[in-house]
């Protein structure tokens, strides 16, 4: 008896905590359909009918779809380049013995520990010199060299790809790149997907670097664009539109999460067990 009650209380607490995680999102969705005046005076979970008006106000401020398109132009290539070249590098480090292999791996370990702010100023200076300010190149190209992803994939290859597989392909006369593309990539695809999804979310949400590199409105990625609304805000009139903007910015990520939550959870777990 006492056991069942205690267990019930535990579940109740767990559900309450889950509700706390969801409440802001729920309020966001409800408030996106209410007028600013309504939100400012009362509180409810029942949607109202101002969705269209809010959308109007929002469109006057900025073009959310442009921001989304810009974010996609940055995040998709960065994710694909990151996944492919990290796999390439990881395979090179795991399967070939060559001079410098250990040095490169050591550098990867060191740069995994170095906080990002250390390169920020030098990075910006480099972009100025190469005339890459306001270009997406500095936001996409560096994805080719992602130390954390290379480290993760190298460990994965060492633990799950038997060298005999590649040797057999060599005896059959398969070129090295062919073996990599046809044998190795399919084998490590789950690990690449895991890192790729985390990479996509990171790129999509990234704020500081795009804010520093981009300074033309039409180039802004979604997070940078959202941040400009902050200063120009008439609370009472625009509150509903603000919630709508947040809701729209959140939807793509929620979709990704719905389909790939398994991979995301496993990548966080891998981060912990790696130790």
């Amino acid at each position: 008896m006492g056991y069942a009650i205690k267990k019930g209380i535990l579940y109740l607490l767990l559900v309450l905590l889950a509700a706390m995680c969801l409440l802001p999102f729920l309020l966001m969705l409800v408030n996106a359909t209410r007028s600013g005046a309504e939100i400012s005076t009362s509180f409810t979970f029942i949607p109202s009918s101002y969705l269209k008006e809010n959308w109007q106000i929002l469109s006057d401020y900025f073009d959310l779809f442009l921001g989304m398109r810009n974010s996609l132009i940055v995040a998709v290539p960065a994710t694909l380049l990151g996944a492919y070249f990290s796999a390439l590098t990881a395979y090179g480090l795991a399967m070939y013995k060559f001079k410098g292999n250990k040095i490169i791996f050591g550098a990867i370990l060191v740069f995994m520990m170095i906080p990002g702010q250390l390169s920020l100023i030098g990075f910006y200076q480099l972009c100025t010199k190469l005339h890459l300010v306001n270009s997406y190149v500095p936001l996409v190209l560096p994805a080719i060299a992602a130390p954390g992803t290379v480290f993760f994939l190298r460990q994965y290859i060492l633990s799950s790809v038997p060298p005999s597989l590649v040797e057999a392909a060599r005896i059959d006369g398969a070129p090295e790149l062919y073996s990599f593309h046809r044998i190795i990539l399919p084998l490590i695809a789950p690990a690449m997907a895991t890192m790729g999804i985390m990479g996509f979310i990171g790129n999509w949400n990234s704020y500081l670097l795009p804010m520093i590199i981009l300074n033309k409105n039409e180039k802004f990625t979604l997070p940078v664009m959202m941040a400009t609304l902050r200063a120009s805000l008439d609370m009472v009139r625009n509150q509903g539109a603000t919630y709508l903007a947040v809701a729209i910015s959140v939807i793509p990520i929620l979709l990704v999460f719905c389909f790939f939550s398994k991979y995301i959870i496993s990548s966080i777990s891998a981060g912990a067990v790696k130790e």
């Binding site: 205690k6 905590l17 706390m20 920020l120 100023i121 030098g122 090295e176 704020y207 777990s269 130790e275």
Partner: protein, 308 residues
């Protein structure tokens, strides 16, 4: 003869390694190694926005460590992070205890795990925006909710300016940070517990060990490395805290002085028009790095000593 031929063929194969790592190495040298070294060089110069850089030795570092605003920013960062990490890890730890309990055997971990992780997915700009609006002291839904509850019990609520007043802004940010990150820590801790072989628990249960003994003697020691990993990574991230405090405060608000973090301080001298002092900002970056390095070494030492 055959052996020699075989070896040369193997070397030929191994030379492919250069091909595979070449793109990484080129991009890594240009976009990672060079900027870090460039920042180091600049930290010893007096470069402003434009003009020439002159070597000034350690003058920038001296200025960093004697500037009371730097120390204030460091103190703000540490204060917000401390409250945040206690809440975040504490909650994750409690949840881990609940879900790993041998007596209650709670179900539904996959669902709860996903729900608790949800806040971590959202861009900081969206989170900041959402809470800026929810927490607005006059018109925000949060205060209106509290006001409703006060009214129900017949009391009068004096609206709190959660983000605007210096006494609450830091704590509000810490709570929001914890809300964003506790799910992440929880998944990591749970991964550690699930990595523990079931045999241990069963053997202990057969030997008649109580659930608290099992928790204290098996679960806890085995997840200590993961606790360390979470604490160290969270500290490295925490000391670089920028997005939320930056987006949820403004320079004219009275609470600004109590939420300006080291990264915001760096941003001011590195990238804010009118106050740019590139050389000095570079020194701030390296000073922060030294502090992070020192503290994480201390942390690692603390955790490993306990194990011995």
């Amino acid at each position: 003869m055959v052996a020699k031929k075989k070896r040369s063929k193997l070397t030929a194969y191994n030379n492919w390694g250069y091909f595979f790592v070449a793109p990484f190495v080129v991009v890594f040298l240009i976009f990672s190694v060079y900027p870090v070294l460039r920042t180091l060089y600049l930290s010893f110069t007096d470069l402003k926005v434009m003009g020439d850089a002159h070597f000034v030795a350690f003058a920038n570092y001296k200025r960093v460590f004697t500037d009371k605003f730097f120390w204030k920013a460091l103190w703000n960062t540490v204060r917000i992070w401390s409250v945040n990490i206690v809440l975040q890890l504490g909650l994750a730890f409690l949840l881990m205890m609940v879900f790993s309990d041998v007596k209650y055997k709670m179900a539904g971990l996959p669902v709860f795990r996903v729900l608790y992780y949800l806040p971590n997915l959202i861009a900081a700009t969206s989170v900041a925006f959402l809470f800026n609006t929810l927490l607005d002291w006059r018109y925000g839904t949060f205060n209106i909710m509290i006001n409703g509850i006060y009214k129900l019990v017949g009391a009068r609520y004096n609206p709190v300016d959660w983000l605007g007043s210096p006494s609450t802004a830091g704590y509000t940010l810490a709570v929001i940070q914890s809300w964003m990150w506790f799910g992440n820590s929880f998944i990591m801790l749970m991964a550690g517990v699930q990595g523990v072989s079931k045999d241990y628990f069963e053997a202990a249960a057969i030997d008649g060990a109580g659930r608290w003994t099992i928790f204290g003697k098996i679960t806890l020691p085995l997840i200590r490395p993961i606790m360390m990993y979470v604490a160290v990574t969270s500290l490295i991230g925490g000391l670089q805290m920028f997005d939320l405090p930056f987006l949820m405060s403004n320079a004219s608000s009275p609470s600004y002085g109590s939420v300006q973090t080291v990264m915001m301080y760096l941003y001011k001298f590195g990238f804010t028009a009118g106050t740019i002092q590139t050389g000095y900002a570079s020194a701030v970056a390296y000073a922060l790095f030294l502090i992070i390095l020192l503290v994480s070494l201390l942390q690692i030492k603390m955790f490993t000593r306990k194990e011995a």
